[in-house]
């Protein structure tokens, strides 16, 4: 309990520092955050709208359900970006320039400090825009949702977020061996965008592809199926099992990688 309280106090400090940064760089916040959040929110929905313009259903999902998936994707990505993306974007520079020492020498778990020291508060905008658009979509598309489905959606989204976090952490751990890969987070963005489409699409092309890219495909699709009341127990266990397994794997892999960290700048 004391440990949790200590980590919570550290996280509050990180939040305060990042909030001050938002206020100090107001124009960055408006241009970098507000503009970027708005355009990506609308792109996700507009692109799904365009792709389904002449199609009524695909892969067991109706057009309305696919648009709901796009809305849910925005919400999930917004909150994921809020909590983790800025920290992960800085990680290549931290490792390449040998600054990781500063994090390793602190009396706090290194995985926690690396992934939570930098918080993109402005991404809250995208998250809340996602929520608003999802609510609007539910009404416009005439999709009925029950309170149980909403709660299931939110709980499963947490597991989805954990899965994305763990997968990104494993990818970024590779930077210990390949510090020049500063575009690895861009690769993650691209792979994460696979989650805009249902798993059935990948399965229809190749079961192997679906299995290989499950960590990117299921984090948002399965919670959305819960919201729509279509989830199966197999999907539920798939998401929960994979997210827990990947989180454990990310910690084990990180501990292993640190033995190879040489602390020399690139």
């Amino acid at each position: 309990m004391k440990t949790l309280k200590r980590y919570w106090n550290v996280y509050k400090s990180f939040l305060k520092i990042n909030a001050k940064q938002v206020v100090a760089y107001r124009m960055d916040t408006i241009i970098g955050g507000l503009l970027a959040s708005t355009v990506w929110t609308f792109l996700t929905i507009v692109s799904m709208y365009l792709l389904t313009l002449k199609i009524d259903n695909a892969f067991g999902w109706t057009r309305n359900e696919l648009i709901m998936l796009a809305c849910a994707y925005n919400m999930a990505v917004g909150f994921f970006s809020l909590l983790f993306m800025r920290a992960f974007q800085e990680l290549p520079m931290i490792i390449n320039r040998g600054w990781l020492d500063m994090y390793l020498l602190k009396p706090i778990d290194s995985q926690f400090s690396i992934t939570s020291h930098s918080i993109s508060l402005i991404s809250t905008i995208r998250g809340f825009m996602g929520i608003i658009i999802t609510i609007i979509a539910v009404h416009i598309l005439d999709i009925s949702v029950s309170p149980i489905e909403i709660i299931s959606f939110m709980v499963l989204l947490v597991f989805g977020g954990l899965l994305l976090y763990s997968t990104l952490y494993i990818l970024c751990t590779l930077l210990i061996w390949f510090p020049q890969l500063d575009n690895i987070t861009d690769v993650f963005y691209t792979l994460r965008a696979m989650g805009r489409f249902p798993g059935g699409m990948y399965r229809a092309n190749s079961e192997f592809l679906f299995i290989l890219f499950s960590p990117f495909i299921i984090p948002i699709a399965i919670p959305t199926r819960a919201l729509l009341g279509n989830i199966t127990s197999g999907e539920l266990f798939h998401l929960i099992g994979l997210s827990v397994a990947m989180f454990i794997a990310s910690r084990v892999f990180w501990k292993y990688a640190l033995r190879h960290y040489t602390s020399a700048s690139g």
Binding site: D28, I30, A36, L53, K54, V187, M201
Partner: protein, 263 residues
């Protein structure tokens, strides 16, 4: 001779970062491949959508992927972040070589190498049941080459202008992402422009974006006549001239703001 040496140096530098180059290639590949998989599942063989057959859609996205990695420039990162924000522009200003040419030499080798990767990749993919049927004839090849070069130059200039925003703003990410979104929609990277609603299509053709990727891809797929290609080349030339003029104006204005201390 000095220009050839500079090009050669950047070509060699590119080969020192092979894995990074492969990552950029993968980004372009995955983006196009995912949407291709969507259409392969959403349509059945023999079905058409908006005048595009199942085979034509597949060909479009395979060629689009090659154009994506060959033509779309990423020089805004070097210009905006590395040179302007971090102050490395100072070293370029002291050299007796045009900065524009240096930036071009820095970007072009990556495009060429990734384009080669792209061609090899789609030839391999086409062996696994993906249809690739180009529709141009031999006499259209010079036009297609010019369209590709024109598309690359338009992308290069537009990304350079994005990079120049760093002269005035510390944070340029919002502008870059706005550009990326407009490119995705209006350059045919999500759906072919023929399948856009009429309003979107009109807006698209009022911008330079279709001439970056969509027009060269449509030419390769055999959806343009020679006459249409010539008109497109002329349009690209006009766009390049206009962008070059804006480039010069922005450069002359921005360089006065440049302090060279890094951020």
């Amino acid at each position: 001779m000095k220009y050839l040496s500079i090009f050669n140096l950047y070509l060699q530098e590119m080969f020192t970062q092979r894995l990074r180059t492969v990552m950029w290639f993968l980004i372009g590949f995955i983006n196009s491949f995912v949407i291709l998989m969507y259409w392969r599942g959403a349509l059945s063989p023999g079905q058409t959508v908006g005048g595009w057959s199942y085979d034509q859609i597949q060909t479009y996205y395979l060629l689009l992927f090659v154009m994506h990695v060959l033509v779309i420039s990423h020089n805004e990162i070097f210009i905006g972040v590395h040179d302007i924000k971090n102050g490395f522009l100072s070293s370029h200003l002291m050299k007796p070589v045009s900065y524009l040419f240096t930036a071009l030499c820095r970007e072009t080798p990556a495009r060429v190498i990734q384009g080669i990767f792209g061609v090899v990749a789609i030839l391999i993919i086409s062996l696994f049941g993906f249809t690739l049927s180009v529709g141009f004839n031999a006499e259209q090849i010079p036009f297609i080459v010019l369209l590709i070069i024109g598309g690359y130059l338009i992308s290069f200039f537009m990304k350079a202008l994005l990079g120049f925003i760093a002269f005035w703003f510390t944070e340029t990410r919002g502008f870059s992402e706005l550009y990326d979104v407009l490119l995705l929609v209006f350059a045919g990277l999500v759906v072919p422009l023929d399948l856009l609603p009429p309003t979107f299509k009109t807006i698209a053709y009022a911008t330079p974006f279709p001439y970056i990727v969509y027009v060269p891809t449509a030419a390769l797929a055999g959806r343009m006549t020679s006459h249409e290609m010539i008109i497109a080349i002329g349009t690209q030339a006009l766009i390049c001239v206009a962008l070059y003029a804006i480039y010069k104006l922005t450069w002359n204005s921005g360089i006065k703001k440049y302090t060279g201390v890094g951020q």
